[in-house]
Each structure stands twice: as C-alpha cells, then as structure tokens.
Amino acid sequence: MKVSLFITCVSDIVFADVGKNTVELLERLGCEVDFPAAQTCCGQPAYNSGYLSEAKKAMKQMIKAFKDSEYVVGPSGSCVGMLREYPNVLKGDPEWEQPAIDLANKSYEVTQFIVDVLGITDVGSTFEGRVTYHPSCHMTRILGVKEAPTKLLKNVKGIDFVELPVKEDCCGFGGTFAVKNADISGEMVKEKSRHVSETEAEYLVGGDMGCLMNIGGRMRREGKNVKVMHITEILNTHVKEQGGVTA
C-alpha cells in the first residue's frame, strides 16, 4: 500500500524521531512510504486564531503537496483533524472545494490508519515499562479516534499499561492558546502533570506532539522523571531491537 507521510511541522522541525519511527513502523507493516517535500504546515495556528485567509494559503499548499497521494498518514490527531476540516473551510470555492474533499477523504492519523485501514491491532512490538496514555482532545473529539491508540498499546508485549485519571481533560496546549492565555494554560498543564504523577508511570505516551511538548515541558520544569514519547516510538521499539521484522 502506498502511503505519503504527512510529518507535521512540529515533528519536522523539533521531533524528527517521530517521523523516523512512523516511517519505519509503516514500512514494517508493509506500506511503501514516500514524503512529498512540498508539504508545510496544515494551517491550524492561523485557522484557530481566526486568520482565515492566512490559513487558506497554508491549506492550498498542503492540498497541492498531497495531490497525487493515495493515502496521507500523519503522526498527529490534531493536524490530521485539520486536514479533515478543509472541506468546510473551502466550501463553495469552485477551484479548491473538491481537492479539499479529496485530501480529507484520504487522510488518516497513524494509529487510525493502522487499525482502520490496515486492519492491524497488534503491530508485534515489545516494550517493558509502566506506560500511561494521554488521549489528546483533537484526536478524540475532532478526529473521533478514541480506541485505535489504546488498542495498539495494549497489545504491545511486556507493557504495563495504566489509565490516566480524567484522561479526557485538555492538557492546556491549544496551540496559540498556550502563549496567548499562558496563565490559564499553565494551570491546566499543572493539573495534567499531577494526574500523570498519580499513575506512577515511567512513560507518558500520546499521539500529538503539541500536547506532549506541553506536558513534558511542564514535568521537566517540575523535575519529574517521566519520559514523554510519541506512540509510534513504542510501536516501533521491536523493530529497532531486532533489526526489522515484517508484519
């Protein structure tokens, strides 16, 4: 199956490992991965701040970048959620509405793609450690992906999975919200950090680097020894250790 990686700007620039793990994982599961180099940012920072015309410029660039892709798969519920919103944003635009619909229809968050399209719930990875999972708001409530990530995690061999209390609560990231309303965002992330501590997990796993960067940054400030990981890192662990296993 041919898959185009939608890396997301945050992972492209700050967390390259998320992309590497996603590529290796998808390849191990039998996908042929390419990386359309014309991709940039999904436009969410502008869209969520009310800068519609600025956001549309980014969206059109993304539509062009993935025009020829069969599937578009990204390691972020939030950014993929944005791609799926394009048809509403570009509704009524004679040139862009249909391409926006096409992109939305072929875009998937990586765990959603593995479970719903590839039909795999056990990726054959092994991971030792106590792990909790933060279900990011946009992954669950905007994109509607509620079960795929935990289904995959719970099938990881050796994992000690523990539920995060009040897991559905926002961590306070919210993109520009974290800067514009830093006071409120700060209180939200402090609360999330407390909940993570309650689980006594060694690893906090999530499917959105924005949220993980926020929670991880707060826990680091508090001197907490919890490692923050994108879900693909755990799902890809087996491969690294055993030098590549096919699904």
Binding site: I13, A16, E54, F177, V179, M213
Partner: protein, 474 residues
C-alpha cells in the same frame, strides 16, 4: 446588573480567579459531581446520542420557525386571559414590568431564578421605584444578600462555601445558628416563607414556553417556583424569545435532556407550569398574568452562523466540563453567562468591545461541544468569533497580525519553509541550555513562564529523509 458584571480588565479577572484557591476547589469538585452525574444518566438512558439528536432537531425546528411559534404562543396566552408584551430591548422589558408593578402599587416582588432578568437588570429597575425585590432561589437569595453576581447559570452561588453563606446570613439577616446545610436551609425557608405570603407580584423566568397551550414551564429543585406562581395575584413571566418549544411532547424531551445534562438527575423535584390566569373553576393561579418576551439582541443572531447558540437550554453541561472555567471560575468571564456558552453568547448579545478576549479563553478542546445536549458546535463558534474579531472588527493585536502574515508566507512557500527547518535550531540557540529553552524570548515567554520548551532537533525530519533516500542512513 446587566450582562457585564464588572469593569475589571481581562488579565486582572483571570489572575483573581486563578489565585482564589477556595473557589477553584469548590468549582473543581462540583464539576466532578455534575460531570459524573451526567455521564451516569446518559449511560442509563442508553441511547444518549439519539436523544441529543432529537433535542437538536426540536431546537433547530423551533428556531427556524420561531415567528410562527411565537405568534402561536402569544395567541394562546391571550386566549387564556394573559397579556403578552414583546420587548425589543432590555429597557422596553423593564419599563413594561415596572408599569405593571406600579399599577398594582406593589411593595414586594418575589422572583424565581431567571437568567434573562439578570441580563436585563430588572431588579435594579424595580428597586429604583421603591419595590422590595426578593430572589427566592436559595443560591440567588444568598447572592442577592451579598450583592454578588452569579458565577454559574444553574448553580449561581457555586463559588461560595457554607461558612461564607453563614457569615452572609449573620451580617444581613441576624442568623445565629451553625453552618450546617440543614440549619442554613431551614433559616432561608423561614425567611422566604414570609416573603411569599406578603408579596404583591410574582416574577418568574422560563425554562420552556409551550406554544401549543401558551404555558410557561419552570424546572426547580426547591419548590420556590410553586410558591411564587401560586401566592401573589399578579404574575409576570419573563422569557428570552428563543426559549420556547412547539408542544408538550417536545418539552418532555428537552426537560429530560436538561435535568440529566445539568445535574445528573432523571427529573428535578418540581416542574411548575403557568398557563394564563385563573379560570372560574380553578382554585389557584393569578388574576393578572403577563408574559414578557425579550429580544435584546437575539433576533440579530437568527439567520447567522451563530443561530444554533440560541438552541441553548441553559443546562451548563458545557460549563461543567470546561477546564478553563474550572481554573478561573465564572466571574472571570465578566458576564452573567460564563463558560463556553457564555464566551459564545456574550459577544453576540453585548458586543465585542467589552468581550473581545472571551472567544480566546478556550483551548478549543471541544469538551463543551461533546457535552452539549442539543449539539451546539461551541468550539467552532468560538473560532467564528475569532475570525470576526480578526477580519471584521480588526481588534486583534498588531504583533499577531504581522506574525500571521509571516505564517501564511512561510506555510505557502515550500522553499521558505524548508529553510526554516534548517535554521530553527540555531535561531533558538542563544536561549537553549541542555536541549531546552527555559526562559524564551518574545511570544515564547508565556510558554516558558510555566514550562520548558524543547530545542529543535539536530536535524530536521526532512533532512534525515533526504539522506536516507540517498542511501546513507542518517
């Protein structure tokens, strides 16, 4: 009082909320109770999503035909001996009610809980003509004694604890007993009973008006609406113009959603209905009945992208799940309508000038949208407000405008974007220590005030990918 409750600037209100440990504790535990209650009731009902769907259909059908149903409602009320007044503004509503009270030469008015009378500032108007106005909902009564605005639309005194309530009763009413809820409630009951018996006019709000029979329905747990609607001979109901349903059957669906979504109850203790004046064969009901239907900016919302905000049944489910509300409390919104629905409604009813920060007081986590029993897309409407603030009202900060212009150029130009992936790390280098920024410049400062920011990696993903494609593992 009107929609706006103070003159304090936004940042100050937020800071005050965050610093109020007691309030935050009270709000947090109440939110937990309400939220669990709602989820339990929704689960027990089994097909909650079908109920929500039905609720939304009823509300949107009503709003799309609001002229028809308002006409039907007014005809039915008049048929049953009542008077109907359509008030375009708060002033018109207040003047009409003032005249009814004056004509009765009323000394005392008792009220049920009503958000719309808070919105129009009715109490102040009546007090200015010398009438004594008594709120009979326990929470509202406490706030009235304390001259404090509501901080929640269902449980208005959520921000107060029983010690504070005891102090208020002591200072304002000479109370001399303990702070146990039983003794406090019993005292309030004795006090209010006298007010019910001596009131000349009863004023109620309205949860749902029923067009087919000209009835007004009130949903309470304390029974105070029974007293207000059965003792005084003159009754006035005040409703926002959108607060109606076509039929009793529709009302039953919405009440089922309301009580479950609001406080996790299958049904409240009392559902009170007023239908016109007392008929000859009836033993109670008013001799004189008035229904005041308040527009006050609502009709301007009809036909816009915000129309569904008028679907709101004032259950506060959105408020009860909102993490922002939990940390700042209701007063920080500076509106009698706080929380997500308040952040949507307040700028619509009272303008952007005084409320332009509210649509941004949300991380867009969409917990509100998910909780809403009539499916108002609250977080999307907050984005619509932001678009208006940026593109029509031109009220966004100049620095933000420049940043967003830059963003558009960056994100629509792959070469510029690629360059940024190369230079991001060195650009942040002066502030980076051990791969983290702990004290960031410019817009990053807000971030690093509370948390560390990771430095961009040594190589971007795309640079790793390119090397890998060329055959060399990165």
């Amino acid at each position: 009082m009107s929609i706006k409750i103070s003159e304090a600037p936004y940042k100050e209100r937020i800071g005050k909320g965050i610093d109020n440990d007691f309030m935050r504790q009270a709000v947090s535990s109440a939110q937990g109770r309400f939220r669990n209650g709602r989820l339990t009731q929704a689960e027990e009902l089994g097909n909650w999503e079908d109920w929500r769907q039905l609720g939304e259909e009823i509300r949107s059908h009503t709003l799309e035909n609001i002229d028809y149903y308002l006409y039907q409602l007014s005809e039915e009320v008049e048929k049953r001996g009542g008077n109907v007044f359509f008030a375009e503004t708060a002033e018109e509503a207040n003047t009409y009610i003032e005249n009814v009270v004056k004509k009765k030469n009323a000394k005392k008015v008792v009220k049920t809980k009503s958000m719309v009378t808070e919105e129009i500032g009715l109490n102040k108007t009546l007090e200015e003509i010398g009438a004594e106005v008594v709120e009979s909902d326990l929470g509202e009564w406490i706030l009235q004694l304390d001259e404090d605005p509501p901080s929640h639309i269902v449980t208005p005194a959520l921000h107060k604890n029983r010690q504070q309530i005891k102090n208020t009763f002591q200072d304002k009413k000479g109370y001399d007993k303990s702070d146990t809820p039983e003794e406090l409630a019993s005292f309030a009951r004795e006090q209010l009973r006298q007010d019910f018996l001596t009131a000349d006019v009863g004023i109620t709000g309205c949860n749902f008006a029923i067009a087919e029979s000209g009835s007004v329905t009130l949903v309470t747990n304390e029974g105070n609406a029974e007293m207000v609607t059965s003792l005084p001979d003159t009754q006035i109901s005040v409703m926002g113009m959108e607060r109606l349903v076509p039929t009793w059957e529709d009302m039953e669906v919405l009440v089922s959603l309301l009580t479950r979504a609001a406080v996790g109850q299958k049904l409240t203790s009392y559902i009170t209905t007023i239908t016109g004046t007392r008929l000859e064969e009836e033993i109670d009901g008013p001799d004189d009945y008035h229904l005041v239907i308040v527009d006050n900016g609502r009709s301007k919302i009809l036909g816009t992208e915000f129309q569904s905000a008028l679907h709101c049944i004032r259950c506060a489910a959105c408020i009860n799940v909102c993490p922002v509300y939990r940390h700042v409390g209701g007063h920080a919104y500076n509106s009698i309508y706080p929380g997500p629905i308040g952040a949507v409604l307040t700028p619509l009813l009272d303008g952007y000038e005084d409320h332009k920060e509210l649509p941004y007081a949300s991380s867009l986590c969409a917990a509100c949208t998910e909780a809403c029993p009539v499916k108002i897309p609250l977080h999307e409407q907050l984005i619509r407000h932001r678009e208006i603030i940026v593109e029509e009202e031109k009220k966004s900060p100049a620095s933000e405008k420049i940043m967003m212009k830059g963003f558009a150029q960056w994100a629509s130009n792959p070469a510029a974007y690629k360059l940024s992936t190369k230079v991001a790390r060195s650009a942040l280098k002066p502030w980076t220590k051990e791969e983290y920024v702990e004290n960031g410049p410019g817009p990053l400062k807000g971030w690093t005030d509370v948390r560390d920011f990771p430095a961009p990696g040594k190589q971007s993903f795309r640079s790793w990918w390119n090397k890998r494609q060329k055959g060399g593992e990165a």
